[in-house]
Structure formats: structure tokens, C-alpha cells
Amino acid sequence: MSDLAEARIAVRKTYKLYIGGAFPRSESGRSYEVTDHKGGFAANAAMASRKDARDAVAAARKAFGGWSAATAYNRGQVLYRVAELLEGRRSQFVAEVRAAEGLGPRRAEALVDAAIDRWVWYAGWADKIAQVRGATNPVAGPYFNFSLPEPTGVVAVIAPEASSLLGFVSVVAPAVVSGNTVVALASERFPLPAVSLSEVLATSDVPAGVINVLTGRTAEVAPWLASHMDVNAIDLCGAPDDLADDLAVAAAENLKRVVRGGDEDWTQPPALKRMLAYLETKTVWHPAGT
Amino acid sequence: MSALADTPTWSDVSLRAFLHGLPGVDQVGAQARAAMLASRSIKTTAKQWALDAAISMIDLTTLEGQDTPGKVRALCAKAKRPDPADPTAPMVAAVCVYPDLAQVAAAELDGSGVHVASVATAFPSGRASLDVKLADVKYAVAAGADEVDMVIDRGAFLSGRYQEVFDEIVAVKQACDRAHLKVILETGELVTLDNVRRASWLAMLAGADFIKTSTGKVTPAATLPVTLVMLEAVRDFREDHGRQVGVKAAGGIRTAKDALRYLVLVNETAGEDWLDPRWFRLGASSLLNDLLMQRTKLATGRYSGPDYFTLD
């Protein structure tokens, strides 16, 4: 009897898009080959089209009202729950990151742990942003005056190319913690951990449409997000510099808030840049008198 | 009895001054109070009483374009004998239909004690001339309706033409003759609780026998906070005027649990004087089967299923 005859055949996963809480294939019917770090076949990932991008933005917009109106406490709870589920799937993610990026086991574990802890860090921000970023302003007059941070709306994110999980988490979490909704384009080369993350999102308490994950060709999809008039902000860090410049120009059409970045060391503790980038500030005046 | 009479000479100016002079409603506070009352736990004997009370307060309703005499007859049969397996289940309070089916309902319900309620006044939108609306009412009453559910002119109300709304209600009340008049505020379109309070008072000052939340054709329909405000209004109105007005919560009340919450609301807001079909109604259709299911569960100890209750 040959070993092959006795071996158990694995049931391989299909990697689809995550839009509006569901897992559709691309409406274009296309997929592209994802290779592992040795160059061998890893999977066929969905190749998102401009229509998928359009649908994702619509889903994000639809989800924005509910998500931004949720209490900060509730958002923090939801994000913490995601971290719990990530922790539960730790070994799966370690395997996927290893396969994608070709890292040794300890390095991969460290990155996955960092991704989980990063998610926890952001979860704890939800009910503190207003205290750190808001203020009462001592105007010269009989008025009560306060400034409130508010989420800007739908945020498009071109996720980092090289850091398939930690980088992805580091650019998505800061947007949603304050009530924004996100359309994220995963790394073109290493999209699979992001898709697995969307499975975690779908089974946690994250409402449908709050985070949408697209996979595909950056150069094809990113321009549609950058030029979309119903997207309020965009993070360009996953786009190569020349493309990023073009995207920034397109983004100017509706004055999107633009975050530039590039190859950051995602293992460093994050500062507040990304959380603050997606916040508007509303200042309210009211007289104090009898 | 206070110095205010039921039919003084009101004007747009005096009505506005009165209605806008009523104490405001803090929405957050009202919602919190309604939510707290919704957390009351009604068990065993209390639940038994409440389920039967709720059934006896139902205006069993069909208001569809596709209604036919056959449909109305089936509903009337259900109204008189809600539970095919249990004759001890009480009858409902009324059947509620469109005016052109009132005669069918009246014939079926004759002598049973179940009232015939007809909507009127160009229900549900209320957008028609006064003549047409009054004709609608007279037609329904002549056909045998002993209760009329009218809609207020929300357009007039929201644009501040209170006198118009008032006069219309007075005219409809007159056209009702001996039928008793429920005034539908359509709270989903009034939106704010301040508006609900004002519309409630306006309807009562104009002679309403009942104030009713909704047509059921607009979402949101009846809610606990809206009904809370209306119950406060009828309570205060009786205090000031010595006249008791009823409250009907209609639309969106689907489960026995919902219905019991409304009864608790009545009990702890207006008080037990209103805990009677004469003064409180629930406008619903599918609610009845859920009440019967809960009733059966209490009696048998087993959870029941939809096969054991009739779909009419």
C-alpha cells in the first residue's frame, strides 16, 4: 500500500472577499494566484474589480450610521472580542504568516502576538479618545464651549505590502475604534492572513459592513478607492511611492484626509497618528445665563 | 372640575399658547422610564390575568387593499372564538376594518358583544377634503360601526395649524353620532414626544373618546415611550377636566411579551382605572395568536406551536 493512498487529503479553503458581512467572490469572476515564500502555489485569491470596490464602499457607508452611533464602550467591547477570537486562532495565523512571509516559527509567533496585543491596545482606546482629544475651551464670554472628536466616515486603507497581518491590523484598527468604517485592500502579495482575519471579524460582534476586505491588484483597485467621492479618508501606505502620489492627487477631488506612510516598523508601539487622522473636531457654543 | 370647559372658544393663538405651554418631555428620561417599566417581571397568576386582559383589549385588525368579505368573516369568527380548543379564552374587544367592510363585520358580530370599529377620514394618510372625510365617517356609522378610528391631519399639525386639526376632530365627532371616536395621532410622523403630548391634548380638548398611536402603516408605530406620554396625558386630562379618555396602542405589537409591557405601562402611569377594554386597546393582528400560545403554555406547561392556532 502506498503512503499516498493512506494519506488524508486536506480540504482547502477558498479565499473570498469580505463585503457587507458576507463572503462573495469578485463580481468579475476573476482570481489570481498567490504564492508562498518559496514561490509555490498557495491559493487563488479573489481579484477584486472596481465594482467590488464600489460595493464595499456602499456597504461601509451603510454601516457607518450604526457604528458611529454605538457607544464608545460598545465599540471597545466589540474590538476586544475580536482579540479574543484572534487569540483562539493563534496557531492558524502563525501558520499562514509563516507560509506567506517565510518567517521562522518564533518570529511568526511574535508577530501574531503583536497583532493580537495591538488589537487589544486599540480596543482600549475607544472610550478614551474623547478625553484625550476633546476639550472644553475657556472662551472669553458667557459661553460654554466644548470640542468633540467625531469619526470622519468611510476610510479606505491600502494595507502594507510586506506585513501581512501585523501591518494590516495596525492600519485598520485605528480607523474603526473611533467609529469610522473601513474598506481595506489587503497586501497584493500576501493577502491570505487578511482574509482569515475577515473570518474572525464575521464571527465576532463586528456589525456587517464596518470592515470590508478586498484582495486583488493594488494598481487596479486603489485608484477607484482614491477617486471615490463617498470615501472620506484614505491610507496610502501599501501603495508604492509613484502610485501613492497619483492616488493622493485623485484623493484631492473631494478633499479626502490622506495618510501617507510606507514601510514602517510595525513592531514599534504605534503613536496616535492614524487614530487622529480619521477624526473631525466639532466645537459647540452655548450661552450660560438665566 | 376645573375652570377649563371641554368646548371653550379656542383660536389658533390660544391653542398654540396652551399646547406650547404644556411641560416638555425629556426624551431620554421618558425612554429610561419606559425601559425600566419594561423590565417588570410578570409571572404565574399575574401573567394569567394579564394575558386574558390583553386578549380582551385587542382590536383585531385587517386593513389591507386585498380585504374581502370572506376575510372579514373569518376574522370575526376568530374574534368571537379566538382559541378553537379552549372556550374559556376571552373574546377580543373589537374588529377593526375599512368602512366598506363594516357592514359585513356588523352582521357577523351582531349580538356577540364584540364592537365594530371602522377606520375613516381617508385613512391612513388623511389627505382628502373635509367633505370627503365626513362622508367617510357617516358611511361607516350607517353601515353599523359603533367605533370610528379617525386620523388627524398631520400636515396641518406639523405646520402649526392647530385650529384646523381641532375643528376637524370636532366635526368628525359630530358625524360619529353615537359611535365612539378614536383619534389617531400617527406618532411615527409626529416624531418628537413633545409633539405627541401636544397632539394628545389637542385631540382630547376637541372631544376624542380615545387617543390612538398609529395607523400601523408607518414605521415606527406604537412604542412604549410614545404610549407612556399619551398615558400621562390622559391621566392629567382627567385630573384637569374630570373626563376620562382611553388610549389605544396600535401597530408593531407582535408578541405577548410586548403586550404585557403595555399593560404594566398603563398600570403604573395612568393607573388601574384604565386597565379595562373600555379604556385601553391594543390594535393588532398576529399578536392574538402569540397571546393564545402563551396562555396555552401556562395552562398545559408545554411550549405550543403555530399549528394549534388558526390563521385567519
Partner: protein, 478 residues
């Protein structure tokens, strides 16, 4: 008999499993006291004995402080904030998982209605741990400098009115900032604190980070005066707070105090009346009036006095007093015989001073400690019942004519914990709020708490704030 009698709707006690006796929780373990006696803890609704607990003697206090110091120096202060955070998140989660059990235990031991412990106390406990968990790894953003340090070992003494919630208010920020704690729950309400000790074990919290020592006044005194304590936090009566302030004065210990109050709940003529009545009821009858920030003085504008009082009396008639474990109970038991005696005494004083006393008709159970919701009208500022904290379901009603007069009367007290304002006019709310000398001002609401919202008093209601970013200050070396 009422038309719609709510049948008994008891919450089951089966979810709670009580031990016959409890030791002290020191260094991660329950162990008998070294030099303390045992005392019984009861249910104030039925006077039944629930369990025996240990009174920690001076040697026990010393052991606890030593364990806390050891944990601080060898473990907790060295641990990165991200890891401390995760312990606190674990604790928050376990509180949520055991929510029903904790709520029933709280109602049993304290006397408060299950609806309140279930819907208010316990959810807030979890929320406090969640909130402060999130600060543990973000202290550099809290506005206290780049790398604020903890103080060391905190000695914390809490009252009986919100036992587990007061524990959460103390322990969550202390741990988040990197301190370790020795906490003494109130003499009459030790059980949820002891359950919390079990939760610490379930969360695998390093031994000695949290120590729970039960006992009465002596134990508390020994704890706050122990030389090994760097920080003292006390919530309780003003009288004891002053004693502690005196004891700490010659030392380097940092101190925060959350003491008594005699809050004015101010109702203007344009108030949303039905909601204002709810606010009045909530203000003084929530938790049987055992609330430091209770709206115990109703200041109602003269022009709406009769309307408000009529509505209030009518509303009080629907309050349900009885078995704390019945889900429909609104007013539970008074926490102890001693407290009941105080409330009765001051109520008698009120009558003797000439105020008119009124209560809705109320059936008081035979066993246990009970007091009906009570309203005194015709009260003036000079009356003792307008000045002294009764800490029970007793409302004193005064009137005023103008906003300035309301402010004057509201502020005319050595206390300054909270105040309420009821009006439809936004400017008036802000004008009043800026003039009221109170640490918490509720406008068109009352008795609302949130872990993000700083709480604490002016004047003799204490100093320091709990909750919010401000609540970190007490536990940092700043």
C-alpha cells in the same frame, strides 16, 4: 386588592454558592486570620446568617501589606502595561460571565433590589475594569507626563452601599497604574469582595497584587495607618474621613476621600415635570437613599410646588418595597440595624423640628430592616434634616423663587458632592452648573454613573476624583 397584582417574581438563589466561612485573601490564597476573630454576615432583608467571615487583626493587616509590597516590587511594577491591561481585561470578562451570581450575592448581602444590582451595579463593575484596563498601556497619553510611575501599595477602605462597585472604583485604576492593593470591604457587606478574590484567582492574577481583608473599624484603622502603605483611598462618612485625614497628615501618604453629601435636586418651573419627578424619585429612593450623592434636598421653584408635589406623591404610590430578590422590587432593605436606627432618629428629629412627614402606604416585612420612602415638607435650611446626611430614603423639600436663590441654598452646606438641575432651558443649566459648588452636576437626569465620568466632591464631601482620565491621578506619582 389591586386589579393587576404582580405575582412574586423571585430571582433564584441557586446561582450563588456560599461557603460556611471565609478566611482572608492574602498573597493569592484564602487563609485563616492569625490574630483576628470571626464574625457573621447577614441578609438585612431576613436577618438570616449568610456566612462567617474573618476579622483581620493587626498581624493580618501586616501580612497583607507585606504581600502587596512583595508583589509590587517583584512583579507588578516591573510588568509592562500591556500585560497588566490583559489581566484587567480578564477580570472584566469574568465579572461579566459571573454577572448573575454576583448580582444575587450583592442583593443578598446588601439588601438592594436585584433589578438594581443586575442592571446597574454589576454592569458598571465590569465597565470600570474594562475602562481602566485600557489605560494600563496608555499612561503616557493620560496627561501626566511621558512615563508616570505608580505610588506603590494602596490601602483602600470601602463602604457598604455599593460594595462591589466601590471595590471596582478602587482596584481598577490602582492596578492599571501599576500599584498593588490591600482592600477592606465594609463590615456588613464582605461577600462580593470575597467573590472578587476568587475572580482574581480565576484570572491567574499574580499573588499579592490584590489582597482582601475583611473586618470593621479597627481593621480599617490598622490598614490606613500602616507604615507600609503609600496611598490611602477611603469612601465613607465625612466623620471617619476627617479622622483618616488627621492620621495621614504627618505622613507622606497620598490620600483621596469620597465622603458624604446633602445634594440639592433643583426643579425649575419649566422642567419636564414627569421626568423631573422620576429624577427626584431616582435621586433619593434609588438604593434606599444609601447614596453619598443622593438628591436628598428637593429645591422646587415655588410656582410649581403644588404640581410637583402632587405628581411626586402619586408616583411614590407605585414604588414597590420588599424582598430584594424579587425582580419587581423598587425599594429594598436598609443595610443594617444601626443604619435603620440612625434614619429613624433623624426622621423623628424632622418631625420634632416642625416639618410635615409623609410616606405612601407601605407594608413593611416583619423580619429585616425596613424604612418606607419618606418625604418631609415645610423644611427650611435651618432644620437638621436639611443639613445632616440621613443616608436613607428620606427627602426634605424646600422651595426657592429665583435661580440665584436656588444656587445660594444649594451651596449653603459644608458638603459639595453633587447637584441636580431640572429645566428645559439650556442656558440656565450651564449658568447653574458653573455656579454650583458640587463635583457632579446632573442636568435633567440623576444618579448616572460611568467609568469615563469623574466623580468626587468639593469641600467636606472629600477630595480626589474617581473615574475618567482624572481618576488616574490618585494612583500615579504626579
Amino acid at each position: 386588592m389591586a386589579k393587576f397584582e404582580y405575582a412574586p417574581a423571585p430571582e433564584s438563589r441557586a446561582v450563588v454558592s456560599l461557603r460556611e466561612s471565609y478566611g482572608l485573601f492574602i498573597g493569592g490564597e484564602f487563609a485563616p486570620g492569625v490574630d483576628g476573630r470571626a464574625f457573621k454576615t447577614i441578609s438585612p432583608a431576613t436577618e438570616e446568617v449568610l456566612a462567617e467571615v474573618t476579622e483581620a487583626g493587626p498581624a493580618d493587616v501586616d501580612r497583607a501589606v507585606t504581600a502587596a509590597r512583595k508583589a509590587y516590587e517583584h512583579t507588578w511594577a516591573l510588568m509592562p502595561g500591556t500585560e497588566r491591561a490583559k489581566y484587567l481585561f480578564r477580570i472584566a470578562r469574568i465579572v461579566q460571565e459571573r454577572a448573575r451570581e454576583l448580582a444575587v450575592l450583592e442583593s443578598l448581602n446588601n439588601g438592594k433590589p436585584i433589578r438594581e444590582s443586575r442592571d446597574v451595579d454589576i454592569p458598571l463593575v465590569a465597565a470600570h475594569f474594562f475602562y481602566y484596563a485600557g489605560w494600563a498601556d496608555k499612561l503616557e497619553y493620560a496627561g501626566y507626563g511621558q512615563a508616570p510611575r505608580p505610588l506603590g501599595v494602596a490601602g483602600q477602605v470601602i463602604p457598604w452601599n455599593f460594595p462591589l462597585l466601590m471595590l471596582a472604583w478602587k482596584i481598577a485604576p490602582a492596578l492599571a497604574c501599576g500599584n498593588t492593593v490591600v482592600l477592606k470591604p465594609a463590615e456588613t457587606t464582605p461577600l462580593t469582595a470575597l467573590a472578587f478574590a476568587e475572580i482574581c484567582q480565576q484570572a491567574d492574577l499574580p499573588p499579592g497584587v490584590v489582597n482582601i481583608i475583611t473586618g470593621a473599624g479597627e481593621t480599617g484603622r490598622a490598614l490606613v495607618t500602616h507604615p507600609g502603605i503609600d496611598k490611602v483611598a477611603f469612601t465613607g462618612s465625612t466623620e471617619v474621613g476627617k479622622e483618616i485625614a488627621r492620621a495621614c497628615a504627618p505622613t507622606r501618604k497620598k490620600l483621596t476621600l469620597e465622603l458624604g453629601g446633602k445634594a440639592a435636586n433643583i426643579v425649575f418651573e419649566d422642567a419636564p415635570i414627569d421626568q423631573a419627578v422620576e429624577g427626584i424619585v431616582n435621586g433619593i429612593f434609588f438604593n434606599q437613599g444609601h447614596v453619598c450623592c443622593a438628591g436628598s434636598r428637593l429645591l422646587v421653584q415655588e410656582s410649581v410646588y403644588s404640581e410637583v408635589m402632587a405628581a411626586l406623591r402619586r408616583r411614590l404610590g407605585t414604588l414597590r418595597l420588599g424582598d430584594p430578590l424579587d425582580k419587581n422590587t423598587d425599594v429594598g432593605a436598609i443595610n443594617s440595624a444601626a443604619q435603620l436606627a440612625k434614619i429613624r432618629e433623624l426622621s423623628q428629629v424632622g418631625e420634632a423640628e416642625g416639618a410635615e412627614r409623609w410616606s405612601p402606604p407601605c407594608d413593611l416585612p416583619v423580619k429585616g430592616f425596613w424604612f418606607p420612602p419618606t418625604v418631609f415638607t415645610g423644611v427650611s435650611q435651618a432644620h437638621r434634616i436639611a443639613r445632616e446626611e440621613i443616608f436613607g430614603p428620606v427627602l426634605s423639600v424646600l422651595t426657592f423663587r429665583t435661580p440665584a436663590e436656588a444656587v445660594e441654598k444649594a451651596n449653603n452646606t459644608p458638603y459639595g458632592l453633587s447637584a441636580g438641575i431640572w429645566t428645559d432651558k439650556g442656558s440656565l443649566i450651564l449658568w447653574m452648573a458653573s455656579r454650583l459648588r458640587a463635583g457632579v452636576v446632573w442636568a435633567n437626569t440623576f444618579n448616572k454613573f460611568d467609568p469615563t465620568s469623574p466623580f468626587g466632591g468639593y469641600k467636606e464631601s472629600g477630595y480626589g476624583r474617581e473615574g475618567g482620565r482624572h481618576g488616574l491621578e490618585a494612583y500615579l506619582d504626579v
